[in-house]
Symmetry: D3
Subunit: 317 residues, 6 copies
Amino acid sequence: MSQNPQQQPRYSGIATFMRCSYKPSLEDVDIALIGVPFDGGVTNRTGTRHGPREVRNQSSFMRTINQETGTAPFELCRVADVGDALPESPFELTQSHNSIQKFFERVLACGALPIAAGGDHSITLPILRALAKDGPVALVHLDAHCDTGDDYLGSKFHHGSPFKIAVEEGLIDPRKTIQIGIRGTVNTSDIWSFSHESGMRVIYMEEFYQLGITGVLDEIKLLVGEAPVYVTFDVDCLDPAFAPGTGTPEIGGMTSYDALQVIRGLSGLNIIGADVVEVSPPFDPTGVTALVGATIMFELLCIAAESKHRKDRATGG
Amino acid sequence: MSQNPQQQPRYSGIATFMRCSYKPSLEDVDIALIGVPFDGGVTNRTGTRHGPREVRNQSSFMRTINQETGTAPFELCRVADVGDALPESPFELTQSHNSIQKFFERVLACGALPIAAGGDHSITLPILRALAKDGPVALVHLDAHCDTGDDYLGSKFHHGSPFKIAVEEGLIDPRKTIQIGIRGTVNTSDIWSFSHESGMRVIYMEEFYQLGITGVLDEIKLLVGEAPVYVTFDVDCLDPAFAPGTGTPEIGGMTSYDALQVIRGLSGLNIIGADVVEVSPPFDPTGVTALVGATIMFELLCIAAESKHRKDRATGG
Amino acid sequence: MSQNPQQQPRYSGIATFMRCSYKPSLEDVDIALIGVPFDGGVTNRTGTRHGPREVRNQSSFMRTINQETGTAPFELCRVADVGDALPESPFELTQSHNSIQKFFERVLACGALPIAAGGDHSITLPILRALAKDGPVALVHLDAHCDTGDDYLGSKFHHGSPFKIAVEEGLIDPRKTIQIGIRGTVNTSDIWSFSHESGMRVIYMEEFYQLGITGVLDEIKLLVGEAPVYVTFDVDCLDPAFAPGTGTPEIGGMTSYDALQVIRGLSGLNIIGADVVEVSPPFDPTGVTALVGATIMFELLCIAAESKHRKDRATGG
Amino acid sequence: MSQNPQQQPRYSGIATFMRCSYKPSLEDVDIALIGVPFDGGVTNRTGTRHGPREVRNQSSFMRTINQETGTAPFELCRVADVGDALPESPFELTQSHNSIQKFFERVLACGALPIAAGGDHSITLPILRALAKDGPVALVHLDAHCDTGDDYLGSKFHHGSPFKIAVEEGLIDPRKTIQIGIRGTVNTSDIWSFSHESGMRVIYMEEFYQLGITGVLDEIKLLVGEAPVYVTFDVDCLDPAFAPGTGTPEIGGMTSYDALQVIRGLSGLNIIGADVVEVSPPFDPTGVTALVGATIMFELLCIAAESKHRKDRATGG
Amino acid sequence: MSQNPQQQPRYSGIATFMRCSYKPSLEDVDIALIGVPFDGGVTNRTGTRHGPREVRNQSSFMRTINQETGTAPFELCRVADVGDALPESPFELTQSHNSIQKFFERVLACGALPIAAGGDHSITLPILRALAKDGPVALVHLDAHCDTGDDYLGSKFHHGSPFKIAVEEGLIDPRKTIQIGIRGTVNTSDIWSFSHESGMRVIYMEEFYQLGITGVLDEIKLLVGEAPVYVTFDVDCLDPAFAPGTGTPEIGGMTSYDALQVIRGLSGLNIIGADVVEVSPPFDPTGVTALVGATIMFELLCIAAESKHRKDRATGG
Amino acid sequence: MSQNPQQQPRYSGIATFMRCSYKPSLEDVDIALIGVPFDGGVTNRTGTRHGPREVRNQSSFMRTINQETGTAPFELCRVADVGDALPESPFELTQSHNSIQKFFERVLACGALPIAAGGDHSITLPILRALAKDGPVALVHLDAHCDTGDDYLGSKFHHGSPFKIAVEEGLIDPRKTIQIGIRGTVNTSDIWSFSHESGMRVIYMEEFYQLGITGVLDEIKLLVGEAPVYVTFDVDCLDPAFAPGTGTPEIGGMTSYDALQVIRGLSGLNIIGADVVEVSPPFDPTGVTALVGATIMFELLCIAAESKHRKDRATGG
């Protein structure tokens, strides 16, 4: 029998992301798949700390080639599961973010492109801190919420605010930031005013269906252009029928098919990193949310591998 | 910390509808949110008696403002959870309906507009008996079933017949009644003949998608006009992917997004009451159906609050 | 009370398919509903051996008439649950297939048209062996996977290969075979090359939405024409939101509404048999997948009853 | 392969009680296994109407011989699943009880000993009405509740009162009635005073463990002696760890092992009928409660078959 | 119908603890039932923040009188649900504990005896800080873990250390502290050395069964005597068969029956407060753990009401 | 932060058995923890192929020291997760067993003691074939079934027969074999006659409680003495309340506490290998069965590590 875990029965063996080799050493890694089991920033239901484990588990359903696009990420790049970015002091948000940031700095120092599985959405902040050392990056953000809110219950850093802070710290360029899938109730009518005032493009669900996938993709490409771009995928952008296992579900979201079309349409962008967040296994009895998370992670891997491969070839890498 | 429950963590506190004040006294209430935990009228799976509790629980996910429409119902009206309309003798259908009717009569006597969470669909009958004292009202009815059937297993009053009886008793005007989302198998080819013969507008799922939301809304507005209208939402109008926890699921239904668009499109009508029925927690392990129920209840609250506010202002109320 | 089980409360009585009479003798049966509780051919998650039981259980939700199309299958034909095609030696794939084949041969010898509930997709092979005695038949195949793969883990016969073998054995005509709903990751870029090279029409999910239901149905009718046709429905053609309980879920699939439209559109074809496969109850906590399976089985029964009735009348049968 | 369903794979075939033949005709039946899918008498959680279906389903786990006692019930007697005692008008308690009574009268008229699976505990009342035509019988009653309460919410007939009414109607002899496993909270300190004042022997859980199984069995035998005895088993006599799927769970109950020992210890009594009630599948996600119900039903079958066999032989039957 | 919620159907109405009146004002309250929805101190699985809601929900199963002991707590004392002790800044452990402490200080200032439902076990520390103003109190502690550990992951305050800190702060008297049910694996052999060295009595599960309930109760009474005593019940003292929904389950625990016997045996002690902690609804699909939590809370209420009643009468209160 | 996975948060990182290092190379391993994800031998419900994954997942709950016995297995021996013994051709039982056997032969050749997690019980046969090269070994077998049955459905090798074959092949000495926990129904009264006639000691559940743990342990020690002994633990020896997630549950089984006492009592025996089998995650929604499996595996590790350590020290290893 082949010793390649990806060729063995999918229920077998150690559950790494997509049955890749486990390389905590980071050696010979082009793309690093990383778990970030931290949910200290949630405002309601917890549980996303268990996300990386279950995304790893369900990611065994992934095979090696993207049938729709033809991309074979494991041939384009050396992909590995490099383990978890663990918070040093999980009871304290700021320090936790610092340790996550350091982990990603180490990954980047090794030349690897990071793709993360959360964890709550607050983790994207320390990842961006590690990534945007040379100036603000573009952001493609699928979510039911803009996550550009103010302080909540006395804390500035939580899973509803990372992108406000990211702008304030110069990590993302709001004019190259697009937020897609926004919907649901709010507590103040101007809760996302930061998004609007800073110049982000916000596509609410109604507009999403009015524009259609092609229209949305056109806007993304226009906005992002050649800029280095980070893609962050909150599973609550999907309707709870497709992703019930998340902390803040909002009905009326997009379908899995919609989401796949958007991610695939990002092919050609200059991807520098990506994440899938807010998969919450305790609220996901069938595992279907973790499966969605794993599949989206695979799609992100495909567009990232293409991008990485293009750049490495261009630079003779 | 704010003493307003709607500003506190959503997992905390007593679970009232949308974390409103609990006012069984009915004092100072413009809109009364009411549980009707009765399922004595079901023909197959029971469990909707547990609906109000779980809709209350999941309704903590609701915030105070409708992001899409901008409506702020709690600013327009004084909204309260006024408790449950309890059947006096839950083992007997007719008496149970009588006690439900009395509860709603008391609510109306206090000048409050009622929005109910069931319970099975038979509860809409006693609600209409309380509401339609001045002649038949219009009805917007989302459902997989017309619920205008004949006697079943020896009983006239069950959850498959309330709207036939409502016409017969002069509670609703069939020519101002529209039934949307009908589908599934039937036991006699003319089971809904009462709907057709009495002049109701029946939109089956196929026609629903052919007309599109705009087309459906045009028909509703044409039919209902300025008439006082009751809106009744059976969660089984949704596909079981979106609302598995119900007594009589039928595949091939609408999405949550479709349903939201329909309800929001009713803005401007002269709403006099509304309900969400057939949420059955024992068949809803993820709670997603109760969440849908709670969100639809919030959307109904928004259009009802606008309507109530308009009228109260017009009458100097 | 009526002695007809289909008129009794749906939670009551022995669970046969659609509450039909149980006739293991096969006497006076025009259409035979058959369970095939075999999952010895799966490559990943098992459990479809429990499919027939749960499809029977959920099929009590079915009533007797198709509201959309008006078809009354139990009036057109004598329909019965004839029991299970049991593998004689469930630990051995080839012998199991032989016993399944024999069961269907006996059904056909009695003049009955078979509609089966699996089991894994490998069961369609022995069914076709029984059916295609007079030459290759046409095939309408809804699935996420073409199931025309090569050997897997040392075995030629598994649930990912039946249609390759069926072509090789002359059971189906590849130029009259259409595969609909294909998507997901693959392990080799040419995994379904057999489908393409043998002349099958493969409609991937993207093309499915580009063509629309009408376009897809046009292609089916053009391809199949008057040929005797078998319809095989793998529930994983649906998105896991609609059918989570299956062995190899792939996100991005069609909705239940889409599937209903396709099956109903097959009306008029010369149907000689059909199946619903890959319902896996252990992964289906809400039973919604078994309900989908039962409803699709009812829709298949409707088009098959029409076809059988037409032919029997034509031949004076 | 053997045509005996009890020899075939346990996941296969039509789900009858213990895979017995289905004989609604009642011909050639010594012991009739009967479903009573009625839960119109519950005071809190519904769902036991689904009990017979799931007990049938899980009863496929049963094999043919009691390993501990050596009893082979299917050799001693002709055992059949005779279908469900259906309430004619499920919305009305009294009429429902009447139709259940008639069903059991028909069973008894055929000379068969009935063993029922409920349904809620109110069903034991009409069964006793059918059985106790010749004077009051003895009763062995395992339960968390005495079920000898007064009217509840305006109804005399509900699942908390059957044994009070049974005494009043002369169906059971209270001095030959023993109630075992009683515990939990009560709403009035004298709620079970009828049990005590009428002369029933009530064994609360604490006394149950003080006496031990042997002590309990000694008391039963002393009380019951040679009298014809009915055994009624409410699964809530078990701790919810062993039987979570029931309407009124009370912690601190007996174990499955305890219950098996009690039932087996009844061997030798003059059993005239028995039931297992209050299995509620909607609250039983693992099916373990239905499995307990099916196993207890098998144990009741064993002691009943011995008793029936003894009597039939004695009378030359 | 009675307006007393405790006399109404148990599935109805607002879910307060044991269907008591909701009195956030704390007026006229002898015993305050309090939710503490805080789980910021957990070291592994989160979710106990949802505990108070679900314990409230399941506590509707409670009736008003303890059948075994005859205690009628609602007659002895005025009992109310006074709402939740909410952490002001849920992202920060120390401040959260401070706000919990303040809430309990306010309760005590009103003369009410507090009974809390957690939340994780770290909440007992701020409760004790509020209670032990006049010197260390005695502690009866049922748990799988001693919770007297050292710092964990850089934090001193977590749910594995409260009782070490409580001794250090002079809140509990270790020689009047008894820990019951300890078991499971440990990471350092001297993890609970603080318990042993400070003089606590630690009863491991093996000794628990060797002593028997009577022996355990004798030790408790000997140790505690007349001292004011706090009772803290971690549901993980139970075997996961009885309480699966908890953060740190350890197999081999006691049964619900054992636990009931221990709590009832505390009758007569000078109870000054009590809690039930670590009920984690996301890991409790059947709700059975919340039911256990609610029932234990009722039993704690009974012994506390007796104690409070005795003292109030003694002091002419 | 410590780099030792066993010191990190238990929800984090790659899920290996007990968070040990993953060493597929088998280098420097004294005790090899092995998954055997094979369920091709089951006669009813499948799913144990998913057992190793979930036991690995839940085994993160394990810490490093056995509190009750003081054993610190990771200090006594070098313990590693060496991956899965994968069947080469999972569709064919005999070849699958051969590949499992080869895997264990390689483990033994490296000098490691194997502890396996199944998989169905048929896997113990190839393990014993690898282990018993020098003559029959003793066997301690906890199970609800003797698993010494005859051919089933045409196959000799299935999960109900391994120990009959093991005797026939001279792998185990029946006079040094003890089977504990046997119960449930059977299809032939002499199904386990092979156990009795070959001289095995069979302890049925009733005798288990009559003897008590001490009595059972005395018998085991008397029988096994100094002989090399294999311990096989089928989780269905436990009552389904403690281990619902298994293929063939039988009510009336032992508790987790009982099982822990038996395993701990084996300390001092000459352990040469052990396994835990029949954990079936698809039937285990709370994960409690996998937790039991993981804990028993830890206890087996403790007694095996003591034994291995003693022997290695004796031989200067």
